[in-house]
């Protein structure tokens, strides 16, 4: 299988930031000819859908661009201190939420569950706060990347940070949905 160039596949310029509206428009227009129900090939549509997946996530998009522009660059490296601080808050918050979820699932009476409610509320607030911070940071990376200087170094740093942020974002969403009430 040839390597996919998601930007070319989608008919969009190669850039670290992609306009979500333009991406949706291109995807819909191309789907209308490439989807098997519209007379296309399953393999062609699968490639298009994969291209969209790569382009709609900041972390995957930056990494994909890095592979296209600077093949062989490695993502490993140190995280910025402020991201380390965020990590130090996300880990315990996720653990606390998971702990509450287990205790709630094990509880057999409404009263025992009610006693967990204050803790659940605190866990929810903390996760929502962290979720908002993660979203802000991802947005900041996206905004900064619109003025990319073309060097591999900046792209690598953004891709690395975005990868962590998106992973936390998914974990926070998951924990919030499990926390419920």
């Amino acid at each position: 299988m040839t390597r996919l160039d998601a930007f070319a596949e989608m008919g969009l310029p190669r850039a670290p930031s992609v306009d979500a509206e333009a991406l949706a428009r291109q995807f819909d227009a191309l789907s209308r000819t490439r989807h098997p129900d519209a007379g296309g090939e399953a393999a062609a549509f699968a490639r298009l859908a994969e291209a969209r997946r790569l382009l709609s996530s900041t972390a995957l998009r930056l990494r994909h661009l890095l592979e296209l522009e600077h093949p062989g660059t490695r993502l490993e490296g140190a995280l910025s201190p402020s991201l380390m601080d965020l990590f130090a808050a996300v880990g315990p918050a996720l653990q606390a939420a998971g702990d509450l979820e287990r205790r709630r699932a094990a509880a057999t009476s409404a009263l025992a569950r009610a006693l967990l409610a204050p803790g659940q509320m605190h866990a929810r607030e903390e996760l929502e706060r962290l979720g908002a911070e993660v979203a802000d940071r991802l947005e900041a990376i996206d905004a900064a990347s619109r003025l990319w200087d073309g060097t591999a170094g900046t792209l690598t740093a953004w891709a690395r940070e975005a990868a962590f942020l998106e992973k936390w974002q998914a974990q926070i969403r998951d924990a919030l949905s499990r926390l419920g009430l």
Partner: protein, 577 residues
């Protein structure tokens, strides 16, 4: 012509597109709903009867009518008086629908779109497809039920752009799908559900409740009538507040009756309906959307007629649900619309669906290694490279799994894949295996020979085998012998666990609530707690169970007060109150 079929747990429907409009077809008695019930006459030479006729026989000749076979699709084992596979029984229902459609249209129908719960796995989908083929239909598409319902909803809104959730609670299955409608493109963003959760579970709870109050029915016909009465009560209580359940000849010549209120029904149905909440929250999280970003929450499925279900849906999504779609017919209409799309008679619509369950392989450590994550747009594919771990290894067996759990054993095993290697030193053989999920949500696995560049379809060998009948009977007999001892012990153990949880919780909650609890309530709770302690001390199972139940009930209000207070404090902290 392609027809659309909704193969439901409780009933099924068929439709076609005529002159650009989807229509549902009625049988000779004018009914569009065919009960998904099959009656097998005692005389093996007599053919089975499907639909309303089968339901009539259930009371006259109990034990020979199979219903809700959809809940068993894709599972090993045989059911019913003629020991058939679930898909063989489903084929009989599909055959009846085909006949209904052909009679209405006056021409043969040989191609079909058949709907399945979105949360059906590969085995369940494949079994449904085989059922269609067995009924003489070319299955052009296996379509997800909530997606079908979204098509029915969106057919007259093709210019609009919106985000909707489809909450589909049927007789046996629950699905929740989040979709984006973009000018004729219907794209599923996420889906979640439970293929063993539906109106049937509510019926079961109502029957158990009625039995607890009325005693055991005397014989099989009385039992069948008890079920019918429970279902009738459930239906009636969607529109009225109290319903009289009357059962003539319940115990021989004795007739019984009692009154059931909507509040009682809701207390019984509550735990079932509550199980839909977590699915809804996960679907939203997977779509990356807060509930507030949705434009509509569309309800379909017969169980969504219940006011309780509507309240739960409204609560989870924070908005009044849209009940514009016919709960029983929307899915069939959607299947018919998809049939029209595939025929080319409805050109402006394009449907993009997702795979509901993560697909993965078992690792050496027994973990699930995800290859295609859930909610990936289909058709899709992913590759994996395999190599020999020891010199001259001839082949390896790989377990293919579907599910969301970390441990392989907790997921559904689709089967095993045998991968053959060329002889050579360790790590020298390389076989690329491609996993493809098609538009039906069905999996195909291809192995590529890297030297010749040719692909070969790998068979996934299903390792689940039918447990033979003798063994089953042995297991049942063994469990019956100890059933009585087990029961008493289990009741005590469960009640003790609950008591040990509740007693400290009561002390803690009373201290926390302080003056929020009225003196009378406090006294009642303390009395119930004292009785629970005494029963625990005495070690009496029945007494303890009664005491714990009373304590649970006495603290219900206290629990609600504590939750409300936690919520209020949280809103205050966030500056919303």
């Amino acid at each position: 012509m392609i027809c659309g079929i909704d193969l439901g747990t409780t009933h099924s429907l068929i439709g076609v597109v005529e002159a650009g409009f989807p229509i549902l077809l009625a049988d000779e008695s004018g009914s569009r709903l065919t009960p998904s019930a099959v009656y097998f006459p005692a005389d093996a030479a007599e053919p089975p009867r499907v639909g309303a006729a089968a339901l009539r026989q259930r009371v006259l000749d109990p034990g020979r009518t199979v219903t809700s076979v959809k809940r068993l699709m894709g599972q090993p084992g045989r059911v019913g008086p003629r020991a058939m596979r679930p898909e063989e029984i489903a084929a009989l229902i599909l055959g009846r629908l085909k006949a209904v459609g052909e009679a209405a249209m006056g021409e043969p129908l040989t191609r079909a779109v058949i709907t399945v719960p979105a949360y059906f796995n590969d085995s369940q989908r494949a079994a449904t497809k085989r059922a269609g083929e067995r009924a003489g239909l070319v299955v052009e598409r296996i379509l997800n039920e909530p997606t079908a319902a979204a098509l029915a909803y969106g057919l007259d809104k093709l210019d609009e752009r919106s985000r909707v959730a489809v909450y589909d609670l049927g007789g046996g299955t629950f699905d929740i799908s989040i979709l984006e409608l973009r000018s004729g493109v219907f794209e599923v963003l996420s889906t979640a559900g439970d293929t063993r959760l539906g109106g049937d579970d509510i019926d079961e709870a109502v029957v158990a409740h009625l039995q607890a109050r009325l005693g055991e029915p005397a014989d099989a016909p009385a039992r069948a009538r008890l079920w019918e009465a429970a279902i009738a009560a459930k239906h009636a209580l969607s529109t009225v507040d109290t319903h009289r359940v009357q059962l003539p000849f319940y115990r021989g010549t004795e007739s019984v009756e009692l009154e059931l209120t909507r509040a009682e029904l809701e207390a019984l149905a509550g735990p079932v309906v509550d199980r839909t909440r977590a699915c809804c929250r996960r679907a939203l999280a997977d779509a990356g959307l807060p509930a507030a970003d949705l434009d509509e929450v569309i309800l379909v499925g017969g169980a969504t007629r219940m006011p309780l279900v509507r309240r739960v849906a409204a609560e989870v999504f924070g908005r009044e649900p849209n009940i514009s779609q016919h709960p029983d017919e929307a899915v069939a209409l959607g299947a018919t619309i998809q049939a029209g799309i595939l025929e080319g008679s409805l050109r402006q619509i394009l449907l993009l669906d997702v795979t509901p369950l993560s697909l993965g392989l078992e690792t050496f450590g027994g973990l699930m290694n995800v290859i295609i994550p859930r909610n990936t747009t289909i058709p899709c594919k992913a590759g994996e490279l395999f190599t020999n771990a020891v010199p001259n290894q001839e082949s390896m067996l790989v377990r293919v799994l579907q599910g969301e759990r970390e441990m392989a054993r907790d997921n559904w095993e689709l089967g095993q894949l045998a991968i053959d290697f060329q002889p050579g030193p360790k790590g020298s053989a390389r076989v690329g295996v491609q996993f493809e999920i098609d538009q039906n949500g069905l999996l195909r696995v291809l192995a590529r020979d890297t030297r010749t560049g040719t692909d070969r379809v790998l068979e996934i060998r299903n390792t689940a085998v039918d447990v033979d009948d003798a063994r089953v009977e042995e297991m049942i007999a063994a469990s019956l012998d100890h059933a009585f001892d087990d029961m008493r012990e289990r009741v005590f153990t469960e009640a003790r666990q609950k008591a040990e949880e509740l007693l400290p919780a009561v002390d803690q909650a009373l201290a926390a609530a302080g003056s929020a609890v009225a003196e009378m309530d406090r006294a009642a709770i303390e009395a119930a707690a004292a009785e629970t302690r005494a029963a625990l001390e005495a070690g009496e199972a029945a007494r303890l169970k009664a005491a714990v139940t009373a304590l649970d009930r006495a603290t219900e209000h206290l629990a609600a007060v504590l939750v409300d207070r936690a919520l209020e404090e949280s809103l205050q902290r966030r500056g919303i109150l």
